[in-house]
Symmetry: C2
Subunit: 354 residues, 2 copies
């Protein structure tokens, strides 16, 4: 493996000193980039981009090549590769969100779920190896997975949603069935992330995109406890290095204190919370990643710079902050506005690292 | 006007002693009730239910007649009557959410907005008078409005949404235009709620359904400040009685401390927050309304009773709690499960009011 030339992101995750605040953008390889839209057209579909290591490598590198100020790259893939490998049949209809041919939504289909053979996800690990080689040490590569709860919502509903009534009905009426799904998911994700680590990822992130839909008690029992299990099950790299972990519950900023206790190195923040207040709440337990509203990138470079400076000032002096958006970059973002954000982070953050 | 026979709800909003915890359900006159579905069929459409005082009275009374344990009724109407009165042309397409024929989404359409003549909303005030007369003092009648920010999202987008990118683009790039919309909305809502009060409502609620989509700073500037202005502008009843106000920002439990300072009598809570912790955060400034996850009503009477007891125990001893769901009751709720919730509230709450 080539030597890592920029370890700012990894150091920030471990709350070690850095010269500036590192930055990357969730969904940085995405539709807002014309070069990404070209690749997707060539591949034929989003799923083909994910399933072809060549294409996944191509699009993972695109934002790095366009934006030299990025401090990390992230595997191009999708959280739904996992339920797909479980046999639920992921597909996308033109202009709509992801769907599954089969669901795990009654007792028999839920009890039939099994941890899939990781060979079914070999295309992901192949992509990791190829991306890592192609990046050639410029910045670290992040691997990821959905959280057990977030995957469960898709597995039960058969598609994306916002209120998850079928999933919650099972959770409230038959909690033992929900725990069965979550246990299978957690065991699968541990294997999945460890195989990504073996293939070369240098940090991992767990996306709990829908944990915020839960009540405070249900969040702990049905989402956070399973993420804790995953974090505890992560292995080191082949070279014996610890792989830092980031846990991100969108809509979960009320529960940061509980999140800070599960052993993750960093927590992701959406834009609902003032990052300075979040830092005061979690103390020295974890680093923080976030938390600009991605909608700001639709405005003007002046407005963007002002908001970037405000987030950096709120975090304040010291280390342990990875700058990011509070959610994925939207497809309507002018690419030059993303550049304005990255430049503002580099320019305004150095004063806080002296 | 007839004498009010059950003032438990109004007393709880003012944090005065009551014998038990009063309860009502957001969207209690709704599609989960077969008698509501019949009325809607007769009326021809949802909008006709709202625009006909006879139908609005009929459906407002339905849950009261079915559930004698309800302690409040709420005007049957829609938050979008206000932008409709502004000339934007509200309509519903079968199986879809609300839409507007025109939007206020560029400089000229935004600057053309005006506070509408309240005569255009006379059907709402007529419904209030008729409902109040028909309830005949059994329980108080709640009036309501959307918040300025929440209405603005529909006025800019022309429909419902979840990320509000057009609205936020204006907010970040042209904040003065967004403030113009919000100022018009706030002035309109003050007149609208005061006309509801003059017609007979005994409490008012402001639904900030989409305030939770904002960042912490933007929430204060673009949503909360305007709700504060409305609360300050509310008048007393013709008899000189104060009309208690409830402010509810869905997804806004991170910001309760700020909400508690705007002069409202009570705050609505969604299910994300532990109500006991919320109470500790707001102290004696406000009453609290909430906060059962409406998805619980899809499960079993046993699970419902357990969750009701848990919310009541978390609030603990003392007054100032109005039991409710954390959002509107879903159309899939079996009516007998709503009854189980209401019975559990009455049964388990008396011990906390001794």
């Amino acid at each position: 493996m080539s030597v890592l030339q920029n370890d700012t992101f990894l150091r920030a995750l471990m709350r070690q000193p850095t010269d500036y605040t590192p930055v990357w953008m969730m969904r940085q390889a995405g539709r807002y980039l014309p070069e990404y839209r070209e690749s997707r057209k060539s591949a034929g579909s989003f799923l083909q981009l994910c399933k072809s290591p060549d294409f996944a490598t191509e699009v993972t590198l695109q934002p790095l090549n366009r934006y030299p100020l990025l401090d990390a790259s992230i595997l191009f893939s999708d959280i739904l590769t996992v339920p797909d490998a479980m046999g639920l049949g992921l597909y996308f209809e033109e202009g709509e969100g992801p769907k599954f041919e089969r669901t795990a939504s009654d007792e028999s289909s839920i009890l039939a779920l099994e941890v899939p053979d990781m060979a079914k996800l070999q295309y992901v690990f192949d992509a990791v190896s190829q991306i890592r080689k192609t990046i050639n040490g410029r910045v670290p590569l992040i691997g990821f997975s959905g959280s057990p709860w977030t995957l469960a919502t898709y597995m039960v509903e058969g598609k994306g949603g916002t209120d998850f009534l079928n999933t919650k009905k099972i959770m409230y009426a038959r909690p033992e069935l929900m725990h069965h799904i979550l246990e299978i998911n957690a065991q699968t994700i541990i294997q999945y992330l460890n195989a990504q680590i073996a293939a070369g990822v240098q940090a991992v992130m767990i996306f709990d995109s829908w944990g915020g839909a839960l009540s405070h008690n249900a969040y702990i029992e049905f989402s956070l406890n399973y993420m804790q299990k995953i974090v505890a099950g992560l292995t080191k790299t082949a070279e014996g290095q610890k792989v830092p972990s980031i846990v991100f519950t969108k809509g979960g900023a009320l529960w940061l204190e509980a999140q800070a206790d599960i052993g993750a190195d960093a927590l992701g923040l959406d834009w609902s919370v003032d990052i300075g207040k979040a830092r005061a709440r979690v103390g020295n337990k974890v680093a923080l990643q976030g938390n600009l509203d991605p909608a700001i990138l639709l405005s003007t470079p002046e407005a963007i710079k002002k908001e970037v400076a405000s987030v950096l000032a709120s975090y304040g002096n010291g280390h342990g902050h990875v700058f990011n958006l509070g959610h994925g970059i939207t497809q309507w973002t002018p690419p030059e506005n993303a550049a304005a954000m990255l430049e503002a982070v580099r320019k305004h953050s150095q004063q806080y690292h002296q």
